[in-house]
């Protein structure tokens, strides 16, 4: 099987930076957020709030850059959801993975995400993270709602939405971490996210529709 592997450059420098920067922000935001929520004491409430606010605002800027990158490079096309091969991928993770079958969608530079990943990352980038940013910013600006003309919100309501989003991110994180172990070896995917290069099964049978336009 190893003879059938080839090194593919999957993740550009910006992507890798964005990924790990985002990972750091998420971990710290989760830790400080759960402390503010009252789940444990780590930094102390005051420091946790300061750090959480600071990172939240940092995130807003970083995310704007991510969106800019996504559209200027055309990478957004890799996030367009599809049902094609979806069943095969689901079947692979439910059954095939236990019987040593090959992944139905090997990665290539132009087709980094399988249909399940497309759907997951699209949900994350276009729904969950913006939702967290919106509820977080609203929470942060609570004291200026009147001046900003924002009416009809309750602090408790905003807080509970932000909490739900936070738990969703934590659940994503757990699943995501686990899924990184499903590569050729346990660390293949993680290594690729550091170096950019991944060992991928040859030959790429990515269909034309999966590929990013040139």
């Amino acid at each position: 099987m190893s003879a059938n592997l080839q090194k593919v450059y999957l993740y550009s420098r910006y992507e890798r930076f964005w990924h790990w920067f985002q990972a750091l922000l998420i971990l710290l935001l989760l830790a400080t957020g759960l402390e503010i929520h009252g789940s444990f004491a780590l930094f102390g409430f005051e420091r946790a709030v300061q750090v959480h606010n600071f990172l939240g605002l940092t995130w807003l800027v970083a995310f704007a850059f991510f969106v800019f990158w996504l559209f200027t490079t055309g990478e957004w096309k890799q996030y367009v959801p599809t049902t094609k091969k979806m069943l095969e991928v689901v079947r692979y993770y439910l059954f095939g993975i236990f019987t040593g079958q090959p992944h139905p969608c090997p990665k290539s530079q132009d087709a980094k995400h399988n249909p399940l990943q497309r759907l997951t990352y699209l949900t994350l980038a276009a729904a969950l993270l913006p939702f967290q940013m919106a509820t977080g910013l609203l929470y942060y600006l609570y004291h200026s709602w009147k001046e900003l003309g924002l009416t009809g919100f309750s602090l408790g309501g905003v807080a509970v939405l932000h909490l739900i989003g936070g738990f969703a991110v934590l659940i994503f994180l757990i699943t995501h971490l686990y899924m990184t172990t499903t590569g050729h070896t346990v660390f293949t995917h993680i290594k690729a996210m550091f170096t950019g290069w991944e060992d991928v099964a040859r030959p790429s049978d990515a269909a034309e529709w999966e590929k990013r336009g040139k």
Binding site: F45, T58, I164, Y178
Partner: protein, 561 residues
């Protein structure tokens, strides 16, 4: 690739610039003013700077008269009333001013309910319960001479006691059971073991001046019948407090007198708390320098902390006192509970007795019942707009429920209300079992009277007290649980001892009983939290099973091949 590299460098630079910009606009102060930041003149809390400027003016107390040189005061005085007459011979308007103050009437004149509110009215507390019928004992703290019963003439100008407030020698004493009179011969008061001396009126009158903490404290530190009994934030430790006890009255520092905040005009002293809020308008000195400067905000502004710190967002909902008075009774213990129902026990010799408690204060007294004394008390918190409503002795009660004798007025929806700390004193005191109303018992009186402390008979004592205030008494009495609130506003601690965020922002919050406000850390929905953690654990279990299955199936395949 080169194009990509340029884009990358461009992007990184822009990101850095944009981040800095956004943080400067929205959050820079958060980072710059964290607890680790060193305080410097530049980033000092503006509210402190403002208040410091307000009290920085040199001069202080000065006068244009030496009273000891005045002819009217250079004579021997046989009676205190003669001193008053001498005072009024120059201070011609003073008597009229005094006789319109609550210090004189012990009645709230603008509470709009026919002079029922006040110590001299029909309100009650759960310390010594009420003044009427007990005057000679209680009125030792009246600014007058001889209010021993209903016959006291409140229009007699010479009955005004100028000296108790204006004596700067601190030698003037009123006898505890003398209806406000000092003694004319040295006299022992057995209860405190102190011999009271007749005042040297000529010397004292020659040295009169503006009141200081000793003068106000002469009564206000001893409310409820003794030092530190009543308020919790006012006791004799406040006569010369250290900075750790009160940053404003610190005897080695700012050394504020009471009037520095309780501003006074024509003998009317600001800060009384009955039905009208003490400070209805939250004005600062810069908005109106003649406003009653009773609130912290008057000097410190509504955004007193360092710029853009979260603490400034709290001032619309939380009173300054809530964070800045972490505990009251920090030097002397204060009484937190008074159970009258156990009073009247006698020792084996058949005599009244007292039992000493661990804090150096009696925990039982035949005359008064059981007490609980506590030091370093964490206050209770209530919404408060500055006004307090009091029930009257004539109001119907439910004896099976806690009777609230007075309560702070305010709510989360009222923009004038803040969360405020209170001393909540609980007690058990007599009520009219037949009529379900509270009662005013006669406690103090000569041995032949029906006073409780004379005969230890509640029925007679209540009958005597109620007859005195011309109210009915069914003849049946019981004891009912009561509570009584006093705002905690003195004993402002140094900023290092301020209440920490998590003392309120936690499940076990100091504010756990304060409704109507969402507080991060206190209020998150337990259901959402529960579902959230179930989801987290579920996903952990899910990936665990999936991972284990992968390991097992791989082993099986390897064994087969």
């Amino acid at each position: 690739m080169a194009k990509g590299k340029r884009l990358w460098i461009f992007g990184a630079t822009t990101f850095a610039l944009a981040s800095v910009l956004l943080h400067v606009l929205l959050a820079a102060p958060i980072a710059a003013t964290g607890p680790a930041a060193k305080p410097s003149e530049a980033n000092k809390a503006p509210g402190r700077a403002l208040a410091q400027n307000a009290v920085m003016a040199p001069g202080g107390r000065w006068t244009t008269v030496d009273h000891s040189k005045l002819e009217a005061l250079q004579k021997p005085f046989a009676k205190p009333e003669e001193v008053t007459a001498a005072c009024l011979s120059c201070h011609a308007l003073a008597a009229n001013q005094i006789q319109h103050t609550i210090h004189w009437t012990w009645l709230c004149d603008n509470c709009g309910d026919g002079k029922n509110i006040g110590k001299g009215g029909k309100t009650l507390n759960n310390f010594c319960i009420a003044v009427p019928s007990n005057e000679p004992r209680c009125t030792s703290c009246h600014i007058g001479y001889g209010w021993k019963d209903k016959t006291f003439d409140f229009t007699d100008k010479n009955k005004i006691d100028c000296l108790v407030c204006h004596d700067t020698t601190h030698t003037y004493d009123k006898f505890p059971t003398g209806a406000g009179n000092p003694v004319s011969e040295p006299k022992l008061f057995p209860e405190d073991g102190k011999t009271y001396q007749p005042p040297d009126y000529t010397k004292i009158a020659g040295k009169v001046g503006l009141p200081d903490r000793y003068n106000c404290g002469y009564c206000h530190f001893y409310g409820g019948g003794g030092d530190a009994v009543k308020h919790g934030d006012l006791d004799s430790s406040m006569t010369n407090p250290k900075k750790s006890l009160d940053v404003h009255m610190d005897v080695e520092g700012l050394n504020f007198t009471c009037q520095r905040c309780h501003t006074t005009k024509e003998h009317q002293i600001a800060g009384r708390l009955y039905t009208t809020p003490a400070a209805p308008e939250r004005l600062s000195l810069t908005e109106a320098d003649l406003a009653a400067k009773i609130a912290c905000e008057s000097c410190h502004s509504a955004a007193p902390h360092k710029l853009n710190t979260k603490a400034n967002d709290h001032t619309s909902k939380v009173a300054c006192q809530t964070c800045h008075i972490p505990e009251f009774a920090r030097v002397l213990p204060t009484k937190m509970r008074w159970d009258w129902s156990t009073a009247g026990k006698k020792n084996p010799e058949g005599k009244p007795f007292k039992t000493a408690g661990p804090l150096g204060k009696p925990i039982y007294d035949t005359k008064k019942g059981d007490f609980t004394w506590v030091k370093n008390v964490i206050p209770e918190y209530r919404w408060f707009n500055g006004a307090i409503s009091s029930m009257l002795v004539t109001d119907k009660i439910d004896p099976n429920k806690l009777v609230t004798l007075n309560q702070p007025i305010g709510s989360a929806n009222d923009p004038q209300s803040r969360i405020m700390p209170f001393k909540r004193h609980t007690g058990k005191q007599p009520y009219d079992k037949g009529a379900n109303t509270m009662v005013i018992p006669k406690l103090f009186g000569p041995p032949e009277s029906d006073a409780y402390w004379a005969k230890y008979d509640w029925k007679k004592a209540i009958a005597a007290g109620m007859a005195y205030v011309e109210l009915p008494f069914s003849g049946e009495y019981g004891f009912v649980e009561t509570e009584y609130f006093m705002p905690t506003t003195h004993m402002v601690a140094p900023k290092e001892q301020v209440v920490r965020c998590e003392q309120c922002h936690s499940r076990d919050s100091r504010l756990k009983n304060v409704p109507g406000v969402y507080m991060p850390g206190r209020d998150a929905s337990p259901m959402v939290t529960g579902i959230g953690w179930v989801g987290v654990i579920g996903s952990l279990v899910g990936v665990g099973i999936h991972g284990a299955a992968r390991v097992v199936s791989r082993k099986k395949r390897e064994n087969k091949s």
